[in-house]
């Protein structure tokens, strides 16, 4: 148990002084917590659609009813806006899209003319392309309904029949039934957890930087003269880094969970366990990097190069599915991705048996990387 003093000493060096405590523990914790507060307020906005229905006939309101049934949109109804005002709503960002139904919408359709509702949007995106497709379907349906009840040869429509036909469609026989899926919202909304993952990795690289300093200043070499096994030294240093990071993690998580009310739907304990596995893998990654460079200045520079991009491709800041396929495959080699997925599964109501594979991968990652990383402890390799 000779490694305990080494670990304790490493902890003292990172957070033993007042400056260390503030800079390494409290400040990052506070920053992250504030961000958590900000992001929890930002989420969950539905697309706002303003519908201006000026139609005097039956069909306009039928179109509106079918839109109102869609739960993904927040529909606002008006009757007396000009088209200009509708455009302004979208341009000013008050609405995400607006729809104008002209006053002769029904009449034109009955007369067999082209009858158009107008959809205004900023630009084509997947959601509003779907909205347009839906509107198209509805409009086609209305046109077809009108044609069906049209009296042969004449341009007149039996409005009772039309109403009956529309009413029959209001209670459809065939429908799509959505099966409730319990899915986590971490993968699709990773910002908060992603930031924590990034910060933890940066803080780990700091304590590994201290180990590097030992090597540079030959303290490490002297340690080997003491009656210690090299395994004790390695274990002491790595355990110390882990404990430091764990303390920071507990503070950050505690603040975000209990003070700022961020709740990803995962119990505090399970979250901590997953993140602990991630810590181990991240420690491996950081120390493997440290084994490649000569001094601690280089380490902090090279870390910038590795930490930010790996966080990006592993989906810490935006959903992984936005990236091209080859980058998504590349993400499998980053510990962040597995940690995020594990947390996502837990958030979706999964148990630890569901994330066994993820934890195993993180553990193997740690084992392999730490083997490389132990090079950081070789005392003779300095610049």
């Amino acid at each position: 148990m000779a490694s305990i003093p080494i670990a304790v000493h490493l902890i003292k060096r990172t957070m033993g002084t007042r400056r260390g405590l503030i800079m390494n523990v409290l400040l990052p914790a506070l920053l992250l917590s504030v961000m958590a507060g900000l992001f929890s307020g930002l989420q969950g906005n539905k697309a706002v659609i303003v519908i201006n229905n000026t139609d005097t006939g039956l069909l306009g309101s039928s179109l509106v009813t079918s839109l109102e049934k869609e739960t993904q949109y927040e529909v606002r109804l008006t009757k007396d806006m000009t088209e200009q005002a509708l455009k302004a709503q979208v341009l000013d960002g008050d609405a995400d899209a607006s729809i104008h139904i002209p006053h002769d919408y029904t009449q034109k359709m009955i007369d067999g003319e082209q009858s158009n509702a107008v959809l205004y949007r900023m630009d084509e995106q997947l959601w509003n392309a779907s909205l347009a497709a839906m509107l198209n379907t509805e409009a086609d349906k209305l046109a077809a309904s009108v044609r069906l009840v049209q009296n042969k040869g004449a341009q007149t429509v039996d409005s009772d029949k039309l109403a009956a036909l529309l009413a029959a469609q209001a209670f459809p026989k065939a429908a799509a039934e959505s099966v409730g899926m319990r899915l986590g919202n971490i993968v699709s909304n990773p910002m908060m957890i992603g930031l924590i993952l990034m910060f933890v990795m940066m803080l780990l690289s700091q304590s590994i930087g201290l180990v590097m300093e030992d090597r540079e200043q030959r303290t490490m070499a002297r340690m080997y003269t003491a009656p210690l096994r090299s395994l004790d030294i390695a274990f002491g240093n790595f355990a110390g880094s882990m404990i430091v990071a764990t303390i920071q993690l507990v503070i950050v998580l505690g603040l975000t969970y209990f003070a700022f009310g961020y709740s990803p739907g995962i119990p505090f304990g399970s979250m901590l366990i997953v993140l602990e596995f991630y810590l181990l893998a991240a420690l491996g990654l950081v120390s493997a990097i440290a084994g490649l460079v000569r001094n601690s200045t280089q380490l902090s520079q090279i870390n910038n190069l590795i930490i930010t991009p790996t966080c990006m491709i592993s989906g810490c800041f935006f959903p992984l599915s936005m990236l091209p396929d080859f980058l998504q495959r590349l993400a499998n080699f980053t510990p962040q991705k597995w940690a995020l997925q594990a947390i996502d599964r837990l958030g979706g109501g999964g148990s630890f048996s569901d994330i066994g594979l993820h934890l195993l991968i993180l553990f193997l990652f740690a084992a392999v990387m730490l083997a490389f990383g132990s090079a950081v402890l070789r005392p003779n390799k300095t610049s």
């Binding site: 630009d123 995106q125 839906m134 986590g184």
Partner: protein, 389 residues
């Protein structure tokens, strides 16, 4: 003058040997541009839908025609599955964005006049769920229309329409779409995402590069070599100027590599007018170096200066929309107080080839900022370089 150039030469020689610094100043922006540019491109990515059709009844052919229809291809990419469980698993895993299971008794129940359903599994992304919902809705609407017509009007009315069963109707379009952004992306303006992030990260890393002058001065002061320059029979000012010019030349190299690499490697269109782009880069570098020197004059040590300046650049980049496009709309005018904003806006204006007058306005403001910061930096410079100042 000669002393100045010799200093410049040795500064550049020094930088050329700091490989890790060069990688960060040049390699990192290129990497970030690639990652962000490809993640946020404006192409619509179709939703991946896991599909299992168990129905073998009369409507199977109609269902198959529907799913293989060309008109849904922009919104939907199918992933065939072999069971309902597999559909669900694909969605849970995140391999599919949405799942559809068509039960075996679907045709039978409907034709018997009972209610029948498809089972859908919504995935994680609201946008993709909407797309898949819309596609399924188009099928259901069509089907229900026929069913309703049969029920209310009697089967004979359907004679003329039977061949259309199950397919998406696209003959008459009842909707007119007005894109108010007219060819412009909501987030990135008239430029595409690659151009947007190329500009943002060129500017951010030029500001970072501007820091190298202040770092060099503080380093040389801390190690005591700067003071020895007083002993030389040449102007001290010329030497200090040389150090700053050396750093500026590093920034110029940075800009050159980033712009040419993005042009040829990523196909970014910088819009010509390289004279103006050079001006913007120069002004940004000047503003960045001046800001770093001002901070150095207060911070005294290299570490504190570096931390403060890096935080400042990060905040400015963030506020000007370099990390999250569209943030300007959320935070109002705060972005106008950053150096990045004016540089980015003018670069983007050049890229989109807008007329010269509007670009000069932004460059003018950038020049004003650079001038004011430089004047202030000159006043504070003695605090940076004098050991006991």
């Amino acid at each position: 003058m000669r002393a100045c150039w010799i200093t410049v030469y040795y500064e550049l020689l020094k930088y050329s040997r700091m490989r890790s610094v060069l990688i960060i100043l040049i390699g990192l922006p290129l990497l970030l541009i690639l990652l962000l540019g490809s993640a946020f491109d404006r192409e619509i990515k179709p939703a991946k839908v896991a599909l299992f059709v168990d129905d073998q009844g009369e409507m199977r052919s109609g269902i198959d025609t529907f799913w293989s229809d060309e008109s849904i291809a922009p919104y939907i990419k199918q992933l065939p599955a072999a069971s309902e469980k597999e559909v669900q698993d694909l969605v849970t895993e995140g391999i599919a964005d949405y799942g559809v299971y068509i039960p075996s008794g679907f045709s039978k129940r409907l034709l018997a006049g009972e209610e029948a359903t498809w089972k859908t599994f919504s995935g994680r992304y609201g946008e993709k769920n909407m797309a898949a919902d819309a596609v399924i809705n188009s099928y259901m609407t069509n089907l229900n229309l026929q069913l309703a017509a049969m029920a209310t009007l009697g089967p004979d009315q359907m004679a003329g329409r039977s061949q259309a069963s199950g397919s998406v109707e696209t003959k008459t379009s009842g909707i007119v779409i007005g894109n108010l952004g007219t060819e412009e992306n909501q987030l990135f303006g008239p430029t595409n995402s690659m151009q947007y992030y190329s500009a943002a990260y060129l500017i951010m890393f030029l500001l970072f590069g501007g820091m190298s002058a202040a770092i060099a001065l503080l380093d040389q002061k801390e190690s005591g070599t700067l003071q020895r320059l007083y002993g030389l029979p040449s102007s001290f000012g010329a030497n200090v100027f040389g150090i700053i010019v050396g750093a500026a030349m590093l920034a110029a190299l940075q800009a050159l590599v980033i712009i040419s690499f993005t042009t040829f490697g990523y196909g970014v269109d910088w819009g010509g007018h390289f004279f103006w782009i050079a001006w913007i880069c120069l002004l940004t570098t000047a503003a960045g170096s001046a800001l770093a020197i001002i901070i150095a004059s207060f911070a005294k040590t290299r570490k504190t200066m570096q931390t403060l300046f890096m935080i400042l650049v990060f905040v400015m980049t963030f506020l000007s929309g370099g990390m999250m496009a569209g943030i300007e709309n959320m935070i109002g005018n705060a972005s106008k107080w950053t150096i990045n904003h004016w540089a980015n806006v003018s670069l983007r204006a050049i890229m989109s080839g807008s007329d010269t007058g509007s670009v000069w306005h932004e460059i003018g403001i950038l020049a004003m900022i650079a001038l004011i910061l430089s004047l202030f930096a000159v006043l504070r410079l003695s605090k940076v370089v004098k050991q006991y100042g």
